[in-house]
Amino acid sequence: MKCPKWAQLKFSEINYQDIIYYSAPVQNKKLNSLDEVDPELLKTFDKLGISLSEQKRLTNVAVDVVFDSISIATTFKAELAQQGVIFCSISEAVKEHPQLVKKYLGTVVPIGDNYFAALNSAVFTDGSFCYIPKGVKCPLELSTYFRINEQKAGQFERTLIIAEENSQVSYLEGCTAPQYKENQLHAAVVELIALENADIKYSTVQNWYSGNEQGQGGVYNFVTKRGLCIGDNSKISWTQVETGSAITWKYPSCTLIGKNSQGEFYSVALTNNYQQADTGSKMIHIGKNSRSRIISKGISAGNSKNSYRGLVNINNKAMGARNYSQCDSLLIGNLSNANTFPFINVQNSTAKLEHEASTSKIGEEQIFYFLQRGISIEKGIELMISGFCRDVFTELPLEFAEEADRLLSLKLEGSVG
């Protein structure tokens, strides 16, 4: 297999011999509560803009923390177990629930699916596993925090979520990495399976280290995320806020097999300095009356490149399928770059598709208007950005929406004016 070259991304060849494929923090004992985690580790999360604050831990969020190659803590396990919900690291799931892992792992993203999925399948050591039994509405927000700590480590985690008939779950992942001059590779695979009437909501706040102002260092984020709406009336919704990484290559997708199944993709991708993002979604319609919705908001500042790349594929069996896509780009400054590459492939005359796109710019005159009215640059940009992203932020779980808002403002600090 060869590294795919079709994305609007420039980077030098990755030396795969140079990467450490397994790295574990010194602390080895598996913990049940974040209170037992080394406070220094928690502090590092805080510093990187993703807080695992007391408040969040108390407000019905169960957290799994993955450091480098292994999972170090999972909270609220006992509470979840009462409902039959399994939420643990994938290494634990392999030992404790092998029948589930065997049945589903690799069914959505086969090992040879693409270059980076193959790499992940070969070397992954840990990740998160989540199983929601029939008829259960998961009582807590589930969440995983990933962190690459080792300088030369690659992170290759694997997430598998299975929602049985009539079940519901909302899952959030957050990602951070400290600052190094060298590039780190993150090649994850996420697989979601929604059976009849099941509903999976998967949200991401990605804040991997994005490199310095000259574009040195940062994480190469090559991720394969796919959901299978296999059951009738099932629904999978992806929401992502991508602010970090030197390079983002990521297309969370839905394969809509069940009748009336629904796929959604809500995305805010922000790039600054020399960041590059090529991200979007694929919606593969197979089931009758399957529906999908793509809302993508790209913000490019500095010298960055931000591309939306998407595919809507409507199969000849997908009678009455519908898709709505909206791709908006916002440019800040004169050196940033925004592209949109929507692909549409329809083999069915009963399908209905809509595609909207827009490009706008935050200019000096808008900023001056804010300033003249006594509003600071930061506040003004924050207001404009949160207005631009509103359609996506309303999809995020409440306690994270504000965090996302703040993260964007933080990332744009000093990029205008």
Binding site: E364, F368, Q372, F388, R390
Partner: protein, 251 residues
């Protein structure tokens, strides 16, 4: 008027944009309670004058001085000048997509309060406050839910500027062609708003091309600007004369 207290004093001001000098030795003093009109042909530097006072970063002050209530404002950024009480009603108010007028107005109002160490108002208190101001310019409350200037008609944009002026209640207001593109009814409403705002403590600079605005708002002085300086100053009669003769005869 006795006991004239200057609000704005401009002394030998030279200012440029992209190395091109636009304001060439401008002198002007505006006292409390005065309304000054600045007229003059296109390209004479009227809008530049307003932007320089407000501190637009694209314009560079080459030499001279701008005093506001006796203190130099040359080193202050636009935001600080706004907090001091300098307001500019834009000739072409810019559209800000995705930001509601209400949020924008509240943020502007609270930023000013904050600069004066006064507690900020919450959205509900603010709504009462802004509703009173809306009446002044004859706008319905639905105006607040729309995005700032987005899809506004020319007249609505100008009214929005006056609404902001009424809300922020600045000491000095510079109105850059606020009358341009208005029908006669809108002109009356806006003039009403401006007259309601004016007091003996405040000052207004009207930049205009037309005598008709001055039928509704009576200026104390009229200045004619040409080639970056004030070439003639007179009273209200001057505007009528200019309307008849144009600017050529002043050269």
């Amino acid at each position: 008027m006795n006991n004239k207290i200057p609000v704005l004093e401009i002394k030998n001001l030279k200012a440029s944009i992209n190395e091109i000098e636009i304001l060439k030795d401008l002198n002007l003093t505006i006292n409390k309670g005065e309304i000054h009109a600045i007229m003059g042909p296109n390209g004479s530097g009227k809008s530049t004058f307003s932007k320089v006072i407000a501190g637009h970063p694209a314009y560079k002050v080459v030499s001279g001085e701008i005093l506001f209530n006796g203190n130099s404002i040359l080193d202050l950024n636009p935001e600080e000048r706004s907090h001091l009480g300098i307001f500019l009603a834009f000739q072409y108010p810019i559209e800000i997509p995705g930001v509601s007028n209400e949020d924008f107005l509240r943020l502007a109002y609270n930023s000013k309060l904050k600069s004066q160490n006064i507690p900020e108002v919450d959205p509900i208190e603010f709504l009462t406050l802004i509703n009173d101001k809306l009446k002044i310019i004859d706008m319905s409350a639905s105006f607040l839910n729309r995005n700032v200037n987005e899809g506004f008609s020319g007249g609505e944009k100008k009214r929005n500027e006056i609404l902001q002026m009424a809300l922020l209640n600045p000491q000095l207001s510079i109105l850059d062609e606020t009358d341009s593109g208005l029908d006669i009814d809108a002109l009356k409403v806006i003039s009403k708003g401006i007259n309601a705002y004016m007091s003996s403590e405040k000052a207004i600079v009207l930049i205009t091309h037309y005598q008709r605005l001055l039928d509704y708002i009576k200026p104390d002085y009229i200045h004619v600007m040409q080639n970056g300086k004030i070439v003639k100053t007179g009273n209200a009669e001057l505007a009528i004369e200019l309307e008849k003769k144009g600017y050529e005869w002043l050269k």
